[in-house]
Symmetry: C2
Subunit: 278 residues, 2 copies
């Protein structure tokens, strides 16, 4: 191969770094890939850092120490997060998506990659400083967003199930009171998490908080700390949830009347420009 130019090196590094957020790449691995000196690579990384800043594309960080190197963090600014969520609220508000019983149809939104990735990056930006070891969700609808969050944080996703499965091995089961007041089971494979880890709970929907509280209790069984809780959508009522300290991206209320109308708004915390830094 001919000598590799700076624009080529930087493009390749940007692809590799941003394609694997929060994973550390050693400078040496790039030196070997390009046949370049370490000083050259450092310059390239500095330039990438500035590019990301200028274009609000997240952060390129240098990590020092024995396990050091370079990593990309998809830090979404509050401004950009608000724009994204406002756009979503516009799409979800109105009469067309309201289902019988006052439910909102938004399963399509929850599995459209572009949208899901952006929501995942917003949640990841908010909770990166809490240093979770894994993302926990309860099957089914929240899995894509939880996965996108895990991807943006560079950590595994762990999925709790409604019942234990033979192919998950021995499991811890707990019972919890669901939103409708019925007793439900939540199950998680013993192999899925380790004691003293930190969990970030991510799910699609928060109403009374029964399922979320179940996940918190499940984590207690594993001696795992809940580092944060994030939801795509929270209902305005009941105002008092069974959990607290969570962040939702949007709030939902549905008017009575014919036809019923969904009012979807960005959550209050998104309106502030003060980013959560732990």
């Amino acid at each position: 191969m001919d000598k590799i130019r700076r624009n080529e090196r930087m493009s390749v590094m940007m692809k590799m770094l941003s394609g694997a957020p929060n994973r550390i790449f050693t400078l040496n691995s790039f030196c070997e890939l390009f046949g370049s000196a370490k000083s050259t690579m450092s310059e390239d990384v500095d330039l990438l850092r500035v590019v990301c800043e200028s274009f609000d594309l997240g952060r390129v960080e240098t990590v020092t120490g024995a396990a050091g190197g370079v990593r990309y963090c998809p830090a979404v600014s509050r401004k950009k997060a608000r724009e994204t969520i406002r756009g979503l609220c516009d799409r979800l508000s109105g009469t067309e998506r309201v289902l019988p019983g006052g439910f909102l149809y938004y399963s399509d939104i929850l599995s459209t990659p572009d949208i899901v990735n952006r929501m995942g990056e917003i949640i990841a930006s908010e909770y990166a400083e809490c240093a979770p070891d894994f993302v926990l969700t309860m099957e089914t609808k929240g899995i894509p967003v939880a996965f996108a969050t895990a991807n943006a944080l560079g950590i595994p996703l762990v999925i709790a199930r409604h019942s234990s499965k033979v192919y998950e091995g021995s499991a811890v089961n707990i019972n919890y009171v669901s939103g409708s007041g019925s007793i439900e089971t939540m199950s998680l494979s013993r192999r899925a998490v380790k004691e003293n880890q930190r969990a970030l709970i991510v799910d699609d929907f928060l109403k009374g908080g029964g399922t979320a509280k179940g996940m918190v209790e499940l984590m207690r069984e594993f001696n795992v700390t809940v580092a944060g809780m994030a939801f795509v959508m929270a209902t305005v009522t009941p105002e008092k949830k069974r959990i607290s300290g969570e962040k939702s991206l949007m709030t939902l209320s549905v008017t009575e009347g014919e036809p019923a109308e969904a009012i979807v708004r960005p959550a209050d915390w998104l309106m502030s420009d003060l980013q959560n830094r732990g």
Copy 2:
């Protein structure tokens, strides 16, 4: 902002293009972003194309016509796919992951973002030419891989459920015979897909093919064509599945004996260098 240099423009474009695979960006949008002439942007794109080729990082393509522009396709070469899958097979083979009943524990693999994204890109590379409109999976374990495939193809993910839910609206339910011989239900919201679309079925596990056949029948109810079927893992026995034409990434057999051992191998089609081009 000062005049933006080529290495900066190329880095930003690489980030944006590879972060949204198979979505078309107009040259004009880049011209506006950088304040550059169209001829300059064309040169940048040509350079990016060569960079991606040289480093086996996928393809940058120019799409002509009214809706034209530039897009990134994460085309994984067979060589790279083999390396990835061989590495996975090594991790999954052996005695440690075998569960009572001869099941294999690999839920962790199915929700680790790095691994899942690579599997999704391999499947997407294989089926891009089949031009699916959406990826279909059946809850729960295959959702992350199906999502990663949908992301790599730039199309939505559609999730079939075991039962219809109030928040999915009216649904089509079918009954199918599961692997264990019991009759199960599969449900999909009417709003989820449109007639005459093309589905790519992606799931985590293929044994007899009962669930897969159920998904094929479900698509028939919607007048949707099945453009392809891909699975992370297929059991060696039964050799004859209820479906045909599928591609799996790995094959699994578990030896009898104490302790039982899992033998996980890359699927045969991965051994050929002839890429599927429709």
